[in-house]
Symmetry: C2
Subunit: 475 residues, 2 copies
C-alpha cells in the first residue's frame, strides 16, 4: 500500500524535529536528519525510544517496517532526493530564511517544504524564496509521534498534497484557510497562557491548581469534543444561539485580565518555576514524558473504542493497515500480529489474562473476515458468537512486546467454527494457546442458525487445505 | 461506610442542578428538588437517565444503593433536614439573594449552602445573609455526574467540610484561596471563548475547525496533565524557567485579539449557530450527550488504568467501596458485583468475550484479597498467576447491565488454587462459567513457589467450609 520507500528530511532535531523524524520512521519512511547540535544523535535516540514504545500501540496491526535513519552533516546531504522536508529550527525569521535558501538550492523541485513554526505565517516564511508555493506551515503538536493535529497553511495545491501524506502517516491535517500569526490552536493556547500567568502573578492559584482546574474539568471535555460542540450540548434543546445569549453578556464583565499583558519579571518566572517543581518535581522529565505518552495512548485507544475524534482517526488508519489477506491456507493462518499496548497490562506488570482473550477474539475476527463473515456480513444481521474457550497460559508478555497468533481451523461444518490459536512472542516462544468454539447466529433472533452458503463453501475449502497440518498437540 | 442516609436539597433543576441531583442520588444520598418549571420532572428524569447509564460504569464495584428523589413544591419543604443545599438558579444576584433568604429561614443551621455560580464571588452571594459563613461557591462542570472538578470558594471551615463530602461522592474539590470573579477555570474558558469568537467573526476558522484544533491536539494533553505540567515537559531538560524564556516573548507579539472584546451582533450569533448546525446537526442533543458521556467514561477509565489524574480519583473511590469482606464461606463467595462499562462492549453490541476473562480475573483478585494475597503481599514479591481457564459462554450481556459472580474454591493445597466462577445477570440468569487454575509464583524468579504459611492456612480453612457446597455440574 505504501509503494516505494519515501524519504523525509528533518532540519532541526529538537523535541519537535525529533518527533517528526519518529513519526515518519515508524510510518515506514526513510529519514535524513540534519542538526548541528553535537548532542543531536543522543536527543533523537531518546525521542525515538519514546515513540517506539508508544506509537505502535495505537494500532491493532503491525505498522510498516521502520524506515532508515540517516544523520547528515549538511542540509544539502539531508534534502537531496527528499519527498518531504520539515524545518524545525528556532523561531527566528532570518535563520529560517537562510535555511530555506539552502534547502531550495539542493532539494528536488517537487519536494514539499514544511515549517513547524508556531507563529510565522507562510507569507513571512516565503519572503526570499525561489519557489514560494512549495514552502508552507505544517505546525504539529508535541509529542508529534502521538498527537495527530497538524495545522497546514500555504498554497492550496501544496497543502492538498501535504494533507494526503499526513493522513497516510496517521495525522490529522487541518488546513487553515486564511493566514494569521499563530494559526488557530496557538491563538487559543496563548489566550489561556496569558490568563494563567495573571492568576499566578496575583497569587490566585498555583501551577498545580490551574492544572487541576483543567484536567479534572473541561480538559476532559475538550479532548473529545472541543469547545463549540461542548457548548452546543450545554445549550440543550434551546440550541446554540440560546447558549450564546446566556453566556455572551459575561464577555463584557471584568472576568479576565486579558486587556493587559503581564510583565515577565524574573520574580514571576522564578515563582512559576518553583511552583512547577513542587507540583511535578518528584518525576524527571523523562518519567513525565512516559507518563504523558502512556496516558495519551490509553485515552486515544479509549476514543478508538468509541470511534470518535482522535480515536476515529486510529480506526481509519487501521482499516488501511489490515494485513491478513491472501494467505496460504496449507499453513497455519497468521491471524494477529501486533504490539501489546499499555492498557492491556495489570498490577503484575504483564499482559492481563483477559487480554489473552482479546487476542483470541481478534484472531477469530480475522478468520471471520477471511471466510467472508466480515463487517458487511455482520451488518446484514448474522455473525459468529464464541460459546467455549479453553486457554492454556504458557508465559508472560509485557507492554511493547510483539506477538503473533497462528490459527488452525479445526472444524467448519454447519453452524460450528472451531479454531485452535497459538500465540508466540517475538522470539517465537509459545505464550499461550486456545481452543475456541464459535457458533453461527442470527443477530435478530440471537439464536444459532446456518451461515450463508458462500461462507460454508469458503470455510469447507480452507478446512480441507488445513487438513494437511498436524493436529495440535495441546488438544 | 456511608453512615445514616443523608439528604441534599437541590434548588433549580436545570442541566447543572439536575447533574448535582444525579451525583448525590447515585452516591446514596436522598435528594429533595425544588424547581418551579412545570417541565422540571421530565428534565430531571432525562439527566438522571444519562447519569444512571454512565456514572456506575466508572467503578469496578457496586455503588451504594441509589437514594430517594423527592420533588418539592417549595424551597421550604426541600431544605428542611438537608445536610447540603445546592443553589443552581439563573445568574442574577437579586434572584440568588432571595433564594438564600428563603433557604436560611428553613434550613438547619449546620447545613452547607453551596452555589453553582460561575461568576459571583462568595462575598457577593453572602451580602444579605444571616449566616454568611455557611454560603459558599461550589462551582461544578457539566456533566456534573461525571466530571469531578468542583471549585470551592468561601470560609475555610465551610470549604473544609464541603471538601470532605465532595470527596466522598467521588468529586475533586479545588479550594480557591482568594475570591475573584469567575474563580479559576472559567477565567481560562472565558479567554479561549473570546479568542474563538474572534476567529469565527474574522472568518479565520469555523466552529468545527476550532474544535478539531483542540481535540486532535492540546485537548488530549490537557485532559491528563493540564497546562503547566505539559509545558514543563516541553521545556525538556532545561526546565520550566527556560521554557518561559523561550515562549515568553510571544506574549508581546500581536498573536491575540484579546485586548478587544468582539461585539455579539445578531449576525455573529447566527454565523456561529449555523456553523454549529453544520458541524453537529446530524446528532440530536440527547445523542450528543450520550456520545460525550460514553467518551468521558472510556477516557476516565483509561486514565484509571494508568492511576493518573481523574483516573487516580476513581481508584481512590474504588478503594473505599471494596465490598467483598466478611463473607460466609459455607456459601459461594460473591467475588464480583458491578455494572458493565461501555468500554467492555464490541461491534456485536454486547460484552466482548475477552471481558468475561476480565471478570474472572477480577473475581480471582477478590478471592486472593480474602485469603491474604492482597496488594501488600504482591508488593512483597509473591502472587498467583493464571495458567488455565475454561470458559463456557451461556448468554450475552450489555453495557449498563448488572452482573454478579459467585466463586467456589475447589482446590487450595500447595501452589495450586482452583476456582469455579459463575456469572449471573440482574435477573439471576447464568451468563457464563469458568474453571480457572492459578499457580502461586515468586515475582522475582517468575517461577512457581509455595505460598506463605498464613495464606495456606486461610485457604485450607475456606476450602473446608466450602466443601459442604455441591460440586459444580459444569465441571
Amino acid at each position: 500500500m505504501m509503494g516505494a520507500r519515501r524519504k523525509a528530511a528533518i532540519i532541526g532535531g529538537g523535541v519537535i524535529g525529533g518527533g517528526w523524524a519518529a513519526r515518519f520512521l515508524l510510518s515506514g519512511w526513510d529519514v535524513a536528519l540534519f542538526d548541528p547540535d553535537p548532542e543531536a544523535a543522543r536527543k533523537i535516540d531518546e525521542v525515538l525510544g519514546n515513540a517506539r514504545r508508544s506509537l505502535p500501540a495505537l494500532s491493532e496491526y503491525q505498522l510498516p517496517r521502520e524506515g532508515r535513519l540517516i544523520l547528515c552533516d549538511t542540509i544539502e546531504a539531508a534534502v537531496s532526493d527528499a519527498d518531504w522536508i520539515q524545518e524545525s529550527v528556532p523561531e527566528r525569521l532570518d535563520l529560517k530564511h537562510s535555511v530555506f535558501a539552502r534547502i531550495e538550492a539542493h532539494a528536488p523541485e517537487t519536494a514539499l517544504i514544511g515549517s513547524s513554526t508556531s507563529g510565522f505565517p507562510p507569507s513571512a516564511l516565503q519572503q526570499r524564496a525561489k519557489r514560494p508555493a512549495s514552502i508552507f506551515v505544517a505546525h504539529p503538536f508535541n509529542p508529534v509521534y502521538l498527537l495527530p493535529l497538524v495545522e497546514l497553511v500555504g498554497a492550496s495545491g501544496t497543502t492538498g498534497r501535504a494533507s494526503a501524506i499526513l493522513t497516510e502517516i496517521g495525522m490529522k491535517p487541518l488546513v487553515v484557510r486564511r493566514e494569521i500569526e499563530a494559526h488557530i490552536a496557538d491563538r487559543l493556547l496563548e489566550a489561556v497562557w496569558r490568563e494563567a500567568l495573571w492568576l499566578i502573578r496575583d497569587d490566585i492559584a498555583t501551577t498545580e491548581e490551574i492544572d487541576d482546574a483543567i484536567r479534572f474539568g473541561f480538559g476532559l471535555r475538550w479532548a473529545q469534543m472541543g469547545l463549540f460542540e461542548t457548548y452546543r450540548i450545554a445549550g440543550g434543546e434551546a440550541g446554540m444561539a440560546h447558549f450564546i445569549e446566556q453566556f455572551g453578556p459575561c464577555l463584557q464583565w471584568p472576568w479576565t485580565k486579558l486587556m493587559d499583558v503581564p510583565e515577565l519579571t524574573d520574580e514571576l518566572v522564578l515563582k512559576i518555576a518553583n511552583q512547577s517543581d513542587q507540583q511535578s518535581g518528584a518525576y524527571s522529565i523523562r518519567e513525565l514524558e512516559r507518563i504523558r505518552d502512556d496516558n495519551l495512548v490509553a485515552m486515544m485507544r479509549a476514543l478508538k473504542g468509541r470511534g470518535w475524534g482522535a480515536g476515529a482517526l486510529l480506526q481509519e488508519r487501521d482499516a488501511r493497515l489490515k494485513p491478513y489477506n491472501d494467505q496460504d491456507f496449507s499453513k497455519p493462518i497468521i491471524s494477529v500480529a501486533r504490539k501489546i499496548p499499555i492498557d492491556w497490562t495489570d498490577y503484575n506488570g504483564h499482559m492481563n489474562e483477559s487480554r489473552y482473550g482479546q487476542v483470541w477474539s481478534d484472531a477469530a475476527d480475522a478468520v471471520m473476515t477471511m471466510i467472508g463473515a466480515d463487517a458487511d456480513y455482520i451488518k446484514g444481521g448474522r455473525s459468529y458468537f464464541t460459546v467455549d474457550t479453553h486457554t492454556r497460559f504458557a508465559n508472560e508478555c509485557h507492554a511493547g512486546s510483539a506477538i503473533e497468533v497462528t490459527t488452525h481451523i479445526l472444524e467448519g461444518a454447519g453452524k460450528k467454527l472451531r479454531l485452535f490459536h497459538e500465540m508466540r512472542d517475538g522470539a517465537g516462544g509459545l505464550v499461550a494457546s486456545c481452543n475456541q468454539l464459535l457458533i453461527h447466529v442470527s443477530l435478530k433472533t440471537r439464536h444459532s442458525c446456518q451461515p450463508a452458503a458462500e461462507i460454508s463453501q469458503k470455510l469447507a475449502a480452507i478446512v480441507q487445505q488445513q487438513a494437511v497440518l498436524p493436529k495440535p498437540e495441546k488438544l
